[in-house]
Symmetry: C2
Subunit: 145 residues, 2 copies
DNA sequence: TGCGATTAAATTGCATACAATATAATTACC
DNA sequence: GGTAATTATATTGTATGCAATTTAATCGCA
C-alpha cells in the first residue's frame, strides 16, 4: 500500500460510475435510433409524456440539465415536430414546452424500449433495487455541506 | 399501472445512473480546477501514474474511450507538458504516451483529491462496496449476447 | 411609481463522446 | 515480393454538458 494507491483507477468509485453510465447510454443507441431520438432527447420526452407541459427550468430540475443543454435540444425536438415552444402569457420569461400530437404518438413506439434495455443490463432484481436505492441516495445528497 | 408506467423517469434505472455520474463528475470540478485538469484528463493521468507508458488503444480499453476522444485530449496534455506523444519504433501505427517529469510531479498535488471527493459522496462503506460491485458487474457484461 | 435586484432563458466558449470515415503501417497469404 | 485484409490512430460531424455571460421580464421596496 503505497501513498499513491488511492489514485489507482481500480480504487475509484467515481470511475466505474462514469464508465457504466456511458456504456449503458451507448447500449440504448440501437433502440433509440429506431425512433430517431438521442438518449437526452428520450429522457426529455419521458418527462413530457408524464406531464404534457413543462417549462425549461422544471425540465432542468428533473433531468439535472441547464438551459445551455436544454435550449438547443428543445429546438431540435421542435424541428422534429414533437414539441411546441411558446413563451408563457403570465410570465414572458418562461418558455413553456408542450407535447404535440406527433410527440404523444411517439410514446407508443417507445414503450418497448425499457424492457429491451433491461435485457441488456443483465442485473438480478436485488442488485437492480440496491443500485437504484444507492444512486438516489447520492443524488439526494445536498450539493454543499 | 397503465401501459406507459415503464416510461416514467422514476421507474428507470439508467436515468439515475446517468444523472449521478454527471453530478459526481461535476462535484470533482472544484478540486480538479486546482490542478488544472478536467475529469477525463484526470482519469487519463491516473492510468499514466500507474503505468508510466501506454498507447492509445490500451488507454481506450482502460477508460472506455475511443481515439476520437483520446487523440485531442492527449494533445492537450502534451501541450500542458504532462505527457509525451511519440510513435512506436517497432510499429509506427502505435502512438506511445509517456509521463513527463512534470506529469509525474502532478501526482503529489492530486493525491488528496480522492479523499476530498469521498467526503462529498457521503456514502457508508457498505453502500460504497455494493455500488462498486454492481457497477463492475454491469461493465463486465459482454456487449452482445 | 421607479429603479435596483432577481429570475428565466438564451448565448458563448470550451471540452468531451461517439459513429463513421480516412490514412498510414503492418500482416497474411498467395 | 506484392497486394488484399487488418490494425492503430486521426479526422470529421453531430450532440451533448456546463460555466460564465447576456438579455429580457418581473419583483421588491423605498
Amino acid at each position: 500500500m503505497d501513498k499513491y494507491s488511492c489514485l489507482k483507477i481500480e480504487n475509484q468509485l467515481c470511475f466505474p460510475l462514469y464508465a457504466c453510465a456511458k456504456e449503458v447510454v451507448r447500449k440504448y443507441k440501437p433502440f433509440l435510433d429506431r425512433i430517431d431520438l438521442t438518449y437526452t432527447q428520450y429522457i426529455t420526452m419521458m418527462v413530457l409524456w408524464e406531464r404534457n407541459t413543462v417549462n425549461v427550468s422544471e425540465l432542468g430540475e428533473c433531468l439535472y440539465l441547464d438551459s445551455g443543454t436544454l435550449t438547443p435540444l428543445l429546438k431540435k425536438l421542435e424541428t422534429k415536430g414533437l414539441v411546441r415552444r411558446e413563451r408563457s402569457r403570465e410570465d414572458e420569461r418562461v418558455m413553456v414546452i408542450t407535447l404535440t400530437e406527433k410527440g404523444l404518438a411517439l410514446r407508443d413506439e417507445a414503450v418497448d424500449i425499457p424492457a429491451q434495455m433491461g435485457g441488456c443490463m443483465n442485473l438480478d432484481p436485488e442488485d437492480a433495487a440496491q443500485l437504484y436505492r444507492i444512486l438516489y441516495k447520492i443524488l439526494k445528497t445536498p450539493s454543499e455541506g
